[in-house]
């Protein structure tokens, strides 16, 4: 049996835990509430007002003006997530952190034949109780014979729910439901399926395999199996370590912008963040992706496969800039993102560098990395990336302007910390990075 432990409204619940006056009230976790951004998480008290993660903060304020808008602190949630993982490890060594607030626990290797359904339920109840008693938080747990069913079962009864399904029960429950309810089917795929006459999970289960394969390739066959509740994806315990597939950063701009120097400066900052992560974890990338979202919320992503792998910010920036120049029509932009994929360990399969660095440049890069490792990310930044700080709120290197216009002292968050966007993906990636760091140091 496999358990999926899904923390209920995790970020908002941690804020309510830390600040008791927020308990029982609608809490919305976002970036700086005085600036533009999106909702990262909403407490259960805020949800009846229609507030959802991903919604612009301004819309959330309109829907639920009396909510408490709290600027999120990723590290706060990451630490709690790591504490919870430690607790899960007391039940089984096979724990896969799926996101910052979800983890799979594989009970199939416990005992001679794995945990029975009854044993899994008893363990899940104990885990829920311990999460409540020792951490003051709520969790919903799904139990199933595989990851797919455990994941979907965890969403059946929230918050603090416990749902067990076998394949037959899974089909009884989900076959009448909209096909988009199936894990892995997003809005675009759902539209595509509906154009083929597949509206429910049951329709997908009954659909012909050749037709699905023709429309979706190998994914089509996988989808049909998923509709039957079949999934052979293994739980990958984090002690075995899994290399990241990609590393990326994105930022919602303080206001829609078509100012080239500002957008270019922002791209340089994103490229620098991606490059630092690549080098910090010893990876190089062979594919770079640019993400643009315009003022109408239209999003495009454009990729470039490189002939050689890269890990320095200028190389990443040059590719990102070229993609931006080729695809931007001059419309005001709301969001920019840069990500690197096709990751390889540095030194593995490297054929040379696209942007040849002489030894002096390499030495400089290493020295700058050492300075940042010691003094923090904001200690040295590419000068061009400061272009994006031209406007009101932020002055580089630790000083920030107050709302009344006075410059306030540098805080421990520093200028970079204050600007770091809070996202679920970012926090999840911090959890996985911390685990990889621990593993590296342990080995």
């Amino acid at each position: 049996m496999i358990l999926l432990v899904d923390m209920d409204a995790f970020f908002a619940s941690v804020e309510q835990l830390h600040h008791p006056h927020l308990r029982g009230k609608p809490v919305i976790v976002c970036g700086d509430p005085t600036r533009r951004g999106v909702v990262t998480a909403a407490s259960y008290e805020a949800r009846p007002f229609g507030v959802r993660a991903g919604m612009p903060t301004a819309e959330a304020k309109r829907l639920c003006p009396h909510a408490e808008f709290v600027e999120g602190s990723p590290r706060k949630y990451v630490e709690k997530s790591l504490e919870l993982l430690e607790m899960f490890l007391t039940y089984t060594p096979d724990v896969e952190p799926f996101s910052v607030d979800e983890a799979f626990l594989d009970l199939s290797k416990l005992g001679e034949r794995g945990a029975t359904r009854e044993a899994a339920v008893a363990m899940a109840r104990t885990i829920q109780q311990r999460i409540a008693d020792e951490h003051g938080l709520g969790a919903s747990i799904g139990i199933g014979p595989n990851k797919l069913i455990a994941k979907m079962a965890s969403g059946v009864n929230k918050p603090r729910g416990l749902t067990v399904l076998d394949e037959e029960e899974f089909r009884q429950l989900f076959w009448p439901q909209d096909v988009q309810e199936l894990w892995g089917v997003g809005p675009k795929m759902s539209e595509h399926l509906k154009r083929l006459g597949i509206r429910t999970v049951g329709d997908l289960g009954r659909a012909g395999e050749p037709m699905l394969e023709q429309s979706f390739g190998a994914v089509g066959v996988h989808l049909k199996h998923a509709a039957w509740g079949r999934d052979q994806t293994p739980v990958v315990p984090y002690h075995e370590g899994v290399d990241p597939k990609s590393m990326g950063h994105e930022v919602t701009l303080p206001e829609d912008s078509r100012e080239e120097a500002f957008l270019e400066g922002t791209l340089l900052r994103l490229a620098d963040q991606v490059a630092r992560r690549l080098r910090g974890e010893g990876f190089v990338a062979r594919t770079l992706t640019l993400k643009l979202r315009d003022f109408r919320f239209r999003t495009i992503t454009r990729q470039k496969a490189l002939t050689v792998s890269v890990d320095d910010h200028l190389a990443i920036f040059e590719v990102a800039k070229a993609l931006w120049r080729a695809n931007w029509k001059g419309e005001p932009l709301r969001l920019l993102g840069v990500s690197a994929s096709g990751l390889e360990h540095k030194g593995e399969g490297e054929q040379g560098e696209l942007f040849v660095q002489d030894d002096r440049k390499k030495t400089l890069q290493e020295a700058l990395d050492k300075v940042r490792d010691k003094l923090g990310e904001a200690s040295v930044v590419p000068a061009g990336s400061l272009m994006h700080r031209r406007d009101t709120g932020h002055v580089p290197f630790g000083a920030m302007k107050r709302k009344d216009g006075r410059t306030r002292r540098a805080g421990p968050e520093g200028a970079a910390g204050a600007q770091a966007p809070i996202t679920r993906e970012g926090a999840a990636s911090q959890v996985k990075r911390t685990l990889r760091d621990q593993k590296r140091k342990g080995s």
Partner: protein, 84 residues
């Protein structure tokens, strides 16, 4: 609503069994006793470790204090200033 402050503060601190705990702090000319520590977490800034404490004052008001080992110094990171 929470107000971001980053104000340096003097904090009377206890060290018990290797753990650090703020007891009271002086801010804006008054002393605020810490009624309860409701949360703790750390963040690294380069090699420095920043230790954060979510605390409650005597009237159940909320604060977030940060001990920055580089000073060393204490900073009042943010405070809840009542309903928005």
């Amino acid at each position: 609503m929470f107000e971001s402050l980053n104000d340096p503060v003097d904090v009377l601190t206890a060290f018990v069994d290797g753990a650090m705990r703020p007891i009271r702090f002086r801010w804006q000319g008054r002393v605020v006793p810490v009624r309860q520590v409701t949360g703790q977490w750390n963040r690294r800034e380069g090699q420095a470790v920043l230790r954060y404490f979510a605390v409650q004052g005597p009237h159940e008001e909320s604060y977030e204090l940060c001990f920055d080992s580089r000073g060393p110094r204490w900073v009042l990171n943010r405070a809840w200033s009542g309903p928005a």
